[in-house]
């Protein structure tokens, strides 16, 4: 029979090297290995420094995962600046990492929702969906009371449609009144308002 069973774990396996790796190594493979090994809060600073210089997408992902694994507000804070970069894959990587550590990302959300950059505020709305917890609906309701940009309100309204209950109805109505000349936003708000009106409050368990 051609099916074989090797006698030891590493036979025919091409096992990876075991020497210590450095985040500053010239080799992407070593930087990848170093990022994967960095899972202690003491590594946050060096991971942040490495992330700022890293050009290899695969290693960047490993650094994001390491920071998500550490999962402290400090490790989340290292990722926040990458929500504003032009490169879409890095931005997405940053968002995914923040979503992966909702408790750690949560303290940053109120600040992100009033960020001077409207694009960041839109991404923050999306983060609230996964990381906002019980405060999420309240934060987004407060936001749409004053948010000057219709497209940011639209992002918040979309998320409210998923996480809010009937208590969000009055805020939604006031938001629609602030944008009388934006038929898309008014339509979106109507759809969501109808939905949350039927929504029962989330059970606690």
């Amino acid at each position: 029979m051609p099916l074989i069973r090797s006698k030891c774990d590493n036979a025919a396996a091409g096992v990876l090297r075991e020497e210590p790796a450095s985040l500053a190594s010239a080799s992407p493979d070593e930087r990848w290995a170093a990022a994967r090994a960095a899972c202690d809060p003491a590594c946050i600073s060096s991971l942040g420094d490495a992330l700022a210089l890293e050009l290899d997408a695969r290693v960047r992902q490993a650094i994001f995962t390491a920071l998500a694994r550490i999962a402290t507000p400090e490790s989340a804070g290292v990722i926040l600046p990458y929500m504003r970069v032009d490169d879409a894959s890095t931005r997405t990587g940053a968002l995914d990492a923040l979503r992966a550590m909702p408790e750690a990302a949560r303290p940053h959300l109120p600040g992100l929702l009033v960020d001077p950059d409207a694009d960041v505020r839109i991404l923050a709305c999306d983060l609230v969906r996964d990381a906002g917890g019980a405060d999420g609906p309240r934060w987004l309701c407060a936001m749409i009371e004053t948010e000057p940009q219709a497209n940011v309100c639209a992002a918040a309204v979309e998320v409210l449609g998923e996480i809010a209950d009937a208590a969000a109805g009055p805020c939604l109505s006031r938001c629609a009144e602030r944008f009388p000349d934006d038929p898309f936003l008014r339509f979106a708000i109507k759809v969501v308002a109808d939905r949350v009106r039927a929504e029962t409050p989330a059970p606690r368990g």
Partner: protein, 283 residues
């Protein structure tokens, strides 16, 4: 409400979006009937009077509802030749592609993780012997791992009931099994000896790494149970466990695209699988 209209279009979209974000499971409109029936079962089981109240329960994962819905949606049962379109893809495409880039004579390595009670790795062995004309020309090593040592012991014993064999023809059962009782069959010793069973937690790099590099990994219906961070770590461990150009097969409803950008999507005629790029992506 008609049987097929448990959820309106918007509710179905919201449910699918949520499941995709939360578990990586991707359901299209074509799977709507199947998904609705599973949701209906869970609504009855939880006493939810409307989809809105059930969805609220799901979102807060009340009493582990996410896992319960996943179990309902994935048919948490293992049997021989389950999702065999991926085995067709293995012998029609993946192994050929691997042989194209591997040094001549090098062993082809296949990993079944989690292997549960052994149906998947033994299915792979039987499938190769039955369906791959080149099987005599190459050495193939099958490794099967699970975190649960109880199921590993059962897998090593190779004894299966009638339900596990339901998709095998009488001819295959007669060829590869012997009777082990009125309702049980044991897989042939030679085949049992050809699969190496090991304990491994796919989220622990220290446990995956010693297994070395594989050409093809079957990791079906596991990642959906993990939280985001564990899923990312598992995906990176799978990446590390694949030879460059090697493939990973997930369950039919799972999507690696939601979990990690490290892999390339490969759309073969019989299955969508994921590949570790031959060259690492830069930039």
């Amino acid at each position: 409400m008609a049987e097929s209209e448990l959820l309106d279009a918007e509710e179905y979209r919201r449910l699918c979006d949520y499941l995709y974000r939360r578990t990586g499971m991707a359901f299209t409109e074509a799977r709507r009937y199947f998904v609705e029936r599973r949701v209906e079962d869970r609504m009855i089981a939880t006493g939810s009077s409307s989809f809105a109240s059930y969805f609220a329960r799901l979102r807060v994962n009340m009493e582990g509802e996410v896992e319960k819905l996943i179990n309902a949606a994935t048919v948490n049962e293992t049997y021989f030749y389950r999702e065999d379109h991926q085995f067709t893809c293995l012998t029609s495409n993946m192994l050929q592609e691997r042989l194209r880039v591997k040094p001549p004579g090098e062993v082809l390595r296949i990993w079944s993780v989690p292997c549960s009670t052994g149906e998947e790795p033994y299915s792979i062995a039987i499938w190769l012997l039955e369906n791959w004309p080149e099987v005599d020309a190459h050495d193939v090593e099958i490794v099967a791992s699970d975190i649960d040592t109880n199921v590993l012991n059962a897998a090593r014993s190779g004894i299966f009931g009638k339900r596990a064999l339901m998709r095998l023809s009488a001819g295959l059962t007669g060829k590869y099994f012997t009777r082990a009782g009125p309702e049980h069959w044991q897989i042939l010793d030679e085949l049992r000896q050809s699969v190496r069973f090991t304990a491994a937690n796919i989220v622990a790099q220290t446990e995956t790494r010693p297994h070395g590099l594989f050409d093809v990994i079957f990791c079906r219906n596991l990642l959906i149970y993990f939280d985001d961070t564990s899923r990312r770590i598992a995906a990176e461990n799978l990446y590390e466990s694949l030879a460059p150009g090697g493939y990973v097969c997930l369950g039919h409803a799972e999507s690696m695209s939601r979990i990690s950008p490290l892999f390339e999507v490969c759309r073969f005629a019989d299955a969508i699988v994921y590949r570790r790029p031959l060259e690492a992506k830069h930039g």
